[in-house]
């Protein structure tokens, strides 16, 4: 079976053919999204959630740390972006940096508490911290606007020195997010195939053994958590910009659970591209099933349950199963790994 830790043909490559195809797919999307019956805004949503999911899978799939409170960092990013625009100044770069920085700070703080935990205790601690952030965002009316959240967040222009692009249109905003997503994809791919990423995977497979080899396991878990919170913060900042508002709902346990479902359904446990498939499937299911029946979440939930029961490797696992023979020739070195449970 294919796993996340298979060593690919040229693992130090920054841009693989798959990433190139993905970039072409993203950049050409506005040309064909309307003819296939969808609309531009769903492209924005999908791209933002893929950024979130890729960052989340660094922690969930690669490091094997199952965070169930990751919506909190998306929310922190969204609030930071909104507060920056409303109180400091209307600036795209400033807002996004504030979002990433605030989420990194929140993630680094929480990581100090959770990094010496694993398994279910880790999951529970992340839920508890996620709930604390969620409660705080609802109760601190003065800063966050309570249940309503921050409204009327402006969409700042992209300022490239002499040249300034208005992002008030959805297509322009989409291109910005798509470019950021390509950068995030390249970065996460490279990071997970770097020595750092290999150590994270060693921690997933056997934490005790990784620490016996001499790695400071605590520090690597802390770094993975913080890094993953930073991507969540970036996604949150973009989300606030797309929605022109920031509200507590994105921090709820429900949302944090949804990202876990998307990553798992897509196959984030076995494949780098799993989270991307999962996010696309979720949003397409929401729109297609949602237009047929109001209870689409029932069918999505049932599909998820069946998938956990019969094919926990997710969509990526199903696709790999269909093309088993070609998958074997793809990997020069099919490293057999004893996946630690």
């Amino acid at each position: 079976m294919a796993t996340l830790s298979d060593i690919t043909r040229r693992s130090s490559q920054w841009i693989t053919p798959q990433i190139f195809v993905f970039a072409v797919f993203l950049l050409s999307l506005p040309l064909w999204i309307r003819p296939i019956g969808l609309y531009q805004y769903i492209g924005i949503e999908i791209a933002i959630w893929i950024i979130f999911a890729l960052g989340f899978n660094l922690l969930f799939g690669y490091t094997g740390l199952h965070s169930f409170g990751h919506g909190a960092y998306l929310g922190v990013g969204a609030y930071a972006f909104g507060l920056f625009q409303l109180h400091v100044g209307v600036s795209l770069i400033g807002g996004l940096l504030a979002a990433v920085f605030a989420a990194a700070l929140a993630g680094a703080f929480v990581a100090c508490f959770v990094s010496h935990r694993r398994g279910i205790y880790f999951a529970l601690m992340t839920i508890a911290f996620g709930q604390v952030f969620w409660f705080a965002s609802i109760k601190m009316h003065g800063i966050t606007g309570g249940e309503d959240g921050l409204l009327n967040i402006p969409r700042p222009d992209l300022n490239l020195g002499v040249y300034s692009v208005s992002l008030s249109g959805n297509t322009a905003l989409y291109y910005l997010i798509a470019v950021l997503l390509i950068i995030v994809t390249v970065f996460t791919w490279r990071a997970m195939n770097s020595p750092f990423g290999r150590i994270l995977q060693a921690i997933r497979q056997n934490e005790t053994r990784a620490s016996f080899i001499g790695y400071e396991v605590w520090w690597f878990k802390w770094a993975a958590f913080t890094l993953s919170a930073m991507f969540a913060g970036l996604a949150g900042g973009l989300f606030a910009m797309a929605q022109e508002s920031a509200y507590p709902d994105v921090m709820s346990l429900h949302q944090s659970g949804l990202i876990v479902m998307m990553v798992l359904v897509g196959g984030g446990l076995v494949n780098f591209w799993g989270p991307i498939l999962g996010v696309i499937l979720y949003f397409i299911a929401r729109d297609v099933l949602g237009s047929i029946t109001e209870t689409w979440l029932l069918w999505y939930g049932l599909m998820f349950v069946v998938m956990v029961m019969f094919k926990p490797e997710g969509l990526a696992g199903v696709l790999a199963g269909l093309s088993k023979n070609s998958a074997e020739t793809l990997n020069d070195l099919p490293v057999k790994t004893a996946e630690g449970n």
Binding site: H66, L124, F135, K139, L298
Partner: protein, 306 residues
């Protein structure tokens, strides 16, 4: 100090109710090492079954329906208190059959499967009963208020707290004093040995899961007049339950009861000073305790740590 007394009393009552909610959860975690995230949804399901039994509108205009609605509320309530948890328990057994595929894999899969099941049950409730908030009718004798030592208490809260104590003692007696309890505890301790002795482990797990789900349903019927009934009540319930068993230590019966009372007291006392933040105090309590004691107050080593 004296004005704190009602808050402490309220906290204690709340703690006992939390203990009732966590009871089924503790049982399933302790015996099967499965974190049942659908616990809250089974709780809600039990309450909605009780609503259907007391309301009886699905019986229609038939003679039985008319006879049923003509009965006073008391017998209908008692029947609901018995039948609704049984129905919730049966639903839990169906879930256990699905859960069998995840045994022997990482605990994460059980967690994920029950999370999906929670979503499905919540949507089914929306489908069957609508999304609005509903009220459970109560018999006259346990609704209204009562004067105790110069302070007004809700009669129903006292009844619910008393019922929680009764249920906790019954479950404890069942586990400690009956042969079934002995087998269940042995199954938690060394399942292979229990199988070698000739007990059907699959059936044991089915029964334990059914019992745990039934207790969730029972807690639902008891709690809902206090908390209100809406389809997403499950998620409001499962998190405190989850928190309590970790605080008390996974697998420890009295640990979870004590943790529940601690949580109730912390919510009650915080409520005296900063009502808006009262529900948050339990998370702070958890972070403080588990930050220092990895396995909670009375926890033992568990497979869930890996």
């Amino acid at each position: 100090m004296t004005q704190l007394v009602p808050h402490i009393f309220n906290g204690l009552t709340l703690g006992l109710l939390f203990a009732l909610i966590a009871l089924g959860f503790t049982l399933i975690v302790g015996v099967m090492e499965v974190i049942n995230l659908a616990h809250g949804s089974l709780f809600a399901l039990g309450a909605y079954f009780a609503l259907a039994i007391i309301g009886g509108s699905w019986l229609g205009d038939t003679a039985i329906g008319e006879w049923w609605l003509a009965l006073p509320i008391m017998p209908r309530y008692i029947l609901a208190l018995i039948v609704a948890p049984i129905l919730a328990g049966l639903s839990g057994m169906v879930l256990e059959l699905a859960l069998r595929r995840t045994y022997g894999k990482a605990p994460l899969y059980g967690l994920l499967l029950t999370f999906g099941a929670a979503l499905v049950i919540e949507e089914l409730i929306r489908l069957g009963w609508g999304t609005g908030e509903q009220n459970l009718q109560l018999p006259q004798s346990i609704s209204g208020a009562i004067l105790l030592g110069g302070l007004i208490y809700s009669k129903y809260k006292l009844f619910a707290a008393g019922f929680a104590v009764f249920a906790i003692i019954m479950v404890w007696l069942f586990l400690e004093k009956t042969p079934y309890g002995a087998i269940i505890k042995a199954g938690a301790h060394d399942s292979e040995m229990v199988r070698a002795l000739g007990y059907d482990l699959a059936r044991l797990r089915l029964l334990v899961f059914g019992l745990g789900a039934g207790l969730a349903g029972l807690a639902g019927v008891i709690m809902v007049p206090i908390w209100g009934l809406r389809p997403h009540v499950g998620i409001d319930v499962v998190i405190p339950a989850f928190l309590i068993i970790v605080l008390g230590g996974i697998g420890s019966f009295w640990g979870s009861v004590i943790a529940a009372i601690l949580v109730g007291l912390s919510v009650g006392i915080t409520g005296a000073y900063a009502p808006a933040w009262s529900m948050m105090s339990m998370y702070i309590l958890l972070i403080l305790v588990v930050g220092f004691r990895a396995r909670g107050l009375f926890g033992k080593k568990s497979a869930l740590e890996n």
